[in-house]
């Protein structure tokens, strides 16, 4: 009996079952590690390729940006702008008298003739079915509550007040007209 425990005993003889189990364990471990390693390797490779592709794309973009910048500088050089201005805009240098340093220097525009705009405002207002077509005399109309004698409107107590305020959603035809409108609304 003692001889059994004595060394060396052939490992094959000693514990065949245990060996099989450990072999299996190592086999699984090796194949798992191998698989994982290759998976990581190919993953890295494909990432590197993607990185390279991206870097190349960035370089191409950078180059394109550089040429675009130069082209922009070429297309917007003062000489060209001057020439284009002469052809399309005819803007001149700012004269000294056009420059005002503080807002108080800007003179207020005299009150514009709002009355001339009034009939148009009236027309632009609610499409009144029963209202008579605007007559030229209505130039003084907006102040008088005669014209839009809609029952519904009359029912509103504030109707007259609303009329007195010249709400002018009409598009101004010129800058001067716009300023006149703003001035009138004050």
């Amino acid at each position: 009996m003692a001889a059994v425990l004595r060394w060396p005993v052939s490992p094959r003889e000693r514990a065949t079952g245990v060996i099989k189990l450990s072999t299996l364990f190592w086999l699984v471990l090796v194949s798992t590690t191998g698989f994982a390693m290759f998976a990581v390797k190919y993953g890295v490779q494909s990432l590197e390729e993607e990185l390279n592709r991206t870097k190349k794309a960035i370089l191409a973009e950078e180059h394109a940006i550089r040429s675009d910048e130069a082209e922009w500088a070429y297309l917007t050089r003062p000489e060209t702008l001057d020439e284009m201005n002469r052809r399309h805009l005819s803007l001149g240098p700012i004269a000294t008298r056009q420059l005002r340093t503080t807002p108080t220097d800007i003179p207020l525009r005299a009150a514009a003739p709002v009355a001339a705009d009034a009939p148009v405002v009236a027309v632009a207002e609610p499409p009144v079915d029963s209202a008579p077509p605007p007559i030229p005399e209505s130039a003084i109309a907006p102040a008088s509550p005669e014209k839009p004698l809609e029952p519904a409107e009359l029912a509103k107590p504030a109707a007259a007040k609303a009329l007195a305020k010249p709400v002018a959603p009409r598009r101004p035809r010129s800058l001067d007209e716009l300023i006149a409108q703003v001035a009138a609304s004050r």
Binding site: M1, A3, V4, R6, P8, V9, S10, E13, E48, L51, N52, K55, K56, L59, E62, H63, R66, S67, E69, A70, E71, W72, A73, Y74, T76, R77, P78, E79, D82, P93, I94, A95, T96, L99, T101
Partner: protein
């Protein structure tokens, strides 16, 4: 004891003649045991070594993953990663970021004739893309039998695209770089140009070549493209109006020394430096490449009188109310000094400057003395080569021995030649409170102005401002006035030297203007070489009729861009700030 033997015995698959070993395993003895022990030891050592190596590998893996992942990642870049073809030189931009010089990839087209299948077809296709190429020449190249021939250097991206579209095998591209100057001649003398391999040959390109090679960020100059255009245009206009040989000008920030615009005409296209000017083929290349602002030294004439007056006032040898007899010309040796705008009477210091009296200035300088004059000019940096970020700078010419006649002529700007750049730098110091600052072409960081050197007292500087205002208000420079911008300045009309004598008909007219003179911000120096009188100028080609009106136009155009607010020149504050005490109550003789 016999387990193993029994098992073999019982095994039905055992070989027929297999005899199980007789009994138990033999425990070796003696030499056999020793051999076995040795084996065992070796096995242990080898196994131990392997274990050690694997442990090191494992530890390293742990280190990379858990501890030093970042550093490991940084190592990736060394392998198989595309490296960026960085442009060899950084771009140059103006103070607002407009590109003045850019490095662009510009591929060159070459062919490998050995790979060209159908030379005739390839030639036909190539000539269609590049109409400038001769068909015969291209065909000869493609059938040369060599393995490398250039077809065309420096293609545009569009051309490269077209060649790729041809799909002709045997045509290849070589990556090359090219320096491009979008504004062509506008900045030519300042920015300069480059040769093959983008090496700087002139201007900033040459002086800062090393800097441009090192940086990736664009180099920002102090120049303003818009101002440069205005200056260039107005100078060209003066040259055309007065059929002059050339002109130069600069705009400088008097409080920082930054140069905002600097132009010299005629000029050249840095994209094709050697190409002749299509509009003026007669003008030589050397003349067009010559930067009059920094490389030209000139006897600037009467504008030098501001230095004479400043010197006398600062040294105390004259006061603002001193008077000098200018009724008769001075004769010294073979020279006679007379006045162009002669008044033939005793003149006060303000009048000497206003009417640009040579006699008066000469007498002032003599009163101050030669040594004082020389030292004063040296202090203003007028006796040494100016320092700036371009390499084309010239040293001034001045007499080695400062005799009395030299004192007199230098007082009104003859007998000493300086660059317009040196002049503008010194003139800035006269008006900005007396501080001389190094001129620069590179944009300075925002913040307080760089250190300077106090060259004249603040009081003298204030007096100079008032006197320069007088010149524009009532003196020779009235045409330089730009209402609202309170211009002060000085005219200068010099006779040019031809050979050993002064040529009467060859003038160099210049004007130095500062605005707003009550709170000086910018200096405009304009100079025109050999102007000829025209009908509008009533037969004059002096500074007051040529460059003074140009300065007025320049100031009116640039002031709004520089954010200088116009003021009412007749307002009491401005009047008080610029009042010259000695003239108070006296009538100024209208010129």
């Amino acid at each position: 004891m016999t387990i193993a033997a029994q098992r073999f015995d019982e095994n039905p698959c055992r070989p027929r003649h297999f005899k199980p070993p007789p009994c138990v395993a033999i425990v070796p003895d003696g030499p056999a045991k020793q051999a076995l022990d040795a084996c065992r030891t070796r096995l242990f050592v080898t196994g131990g070594l392997f274990a050690l190596v694997f442990a090191v590998v494992a530890l390293r893996v742990v280190e990379i993953v858990a501890v030093g992942g970042g550093t490991a990642e940084s190592q990736i870049g060394r392998f198989r990663i595309v490296t960026a073809p960085v442009p060899s030189h950084a771009n140059i931009v103006d103070r607002n970021g407009n590109v003045l010089a850019a490095t662009l990839d510009s591929p060159s087209l070459y062919a490998n004739p050995k790979q060209i299948v159908d030379a005739g077809d390839a030639t036909r296709k190539l000539v269609k893309v590049f109409p400038n190429l001769g068909a015969a020449e291209v065909y000869a190249k493609l059938t040369s039998g060599k393995s490398f021939v250039w077809i065309k250097r420096h293609l545009t991206p569009a051309e490269q695209y077209s060649v790729n579209q041809l799909g002709v095998p045997g045509l290849e591209f070589e990556r090359e770089e090219r320096r491009v100057y979008p504004d062509a001649a506008l900045m030519s003398h300042v920015v300069g140009y480059t040769g093959i391999d983008n090496a700087g040959f002139a201007g900033v390109e040459r002086a800062l070549d090393g800097v441009l090679k090192e940086r990736r960020e664009p180099l920002q100059l102090s120049l303003d493209l818009r101002l440069q255009y205005i200056l260039h245009e107005e100078l060209q206009r003066v040259i055309d109006d007065f059929t002059a040989k050339g002109g130069a000008g600069l705009i400088m920030d008097v409080n920082s020394g930054e140069i905002l615009a600097m132009a010299s005409l005629p000029d050249f296209d840095p994209n094709h430096p050697a190409a002749p000017d299509p509009e003026h083929p007669a003008i030589s290349l050397a003349d067009r490449m010559f930067d009059r602002n920094t490389l030209g030294v000139y006897e600037l004439g009467s504008i030098f009188k501001i230095f004479t007056v400043a010197m006398a006032l600062d040294a105390g040898t004259s006061t603002i109310s001193s008077t000098y007899d200018a009724s008769h010309p001075i004769t010294i040796g073979r020279f006679t000094i007379s006045d162009y705008h002669g008044k033939h009477r005793v003149l006060s210091v303000p009048e000497i400057l206003m009417y640009s009296s040579n006699i008066g200035a000469a007498r002032m300088a003599v009163a101050a003395g030669a040594e004082r004059q020389r030292q004063f000019l040296a202090r203003l940096g007028l006796l040494k080569t100016p320092k700036i970020e371009i390499s084309e700078v010239a040293a001034p010419h001045y007499p080695a021995k400062w005799r009395e006649v030299n004192v007199m002529t230098i007082a009104f700007g003859h007998g000493i030649s300086v660059t317009p750049l040196s002049f503008a730098t010194a003139a800035s110091a006269l008006v900005n409170g007396g501080i001389l600052r190094q001129p620069t072409l590179v944009k300075l960081p925002a913040g307080p102005a760089p250190q300077g050197q106090q060259v004249i007292s603040e009081k003298t500087s204030e007096q100079m401002r008032k006197l320069m205002r007088l010149v524009v208000e009532h003196g020779t420079g009235t045409m330089a006035a730009a209402p609202g911008y309170v211009v002060g300045g000085k005219t200068g009309t010099a006779d040019k030297i031809s050979g050993r004598h002064y040529a009467e008909r060859k003038l160099l007219s210049s004007f130095v203007g500062v605005f707003p003179i009550n709170d000086p911000k910018y200096l405009v120096l304009t100079m025109v070489d050999e102007p000829h009188p025209n009908r509008q100028s009533h037969g004059y080609a002096t500074a007051g009729w040529t460059v003074a009106p140009a300065t007025s136009r320049i100031i009116e155009r640039v002031a709004p861009l520089l954010g200088v607010q116009p003021v009412d020149e007749s307002s009491p504050e401005v009047q008080r700030a610029l009042m010259v005490e000695s003239l108070q109550g006296k009538r100024i003789e209208a010129y």
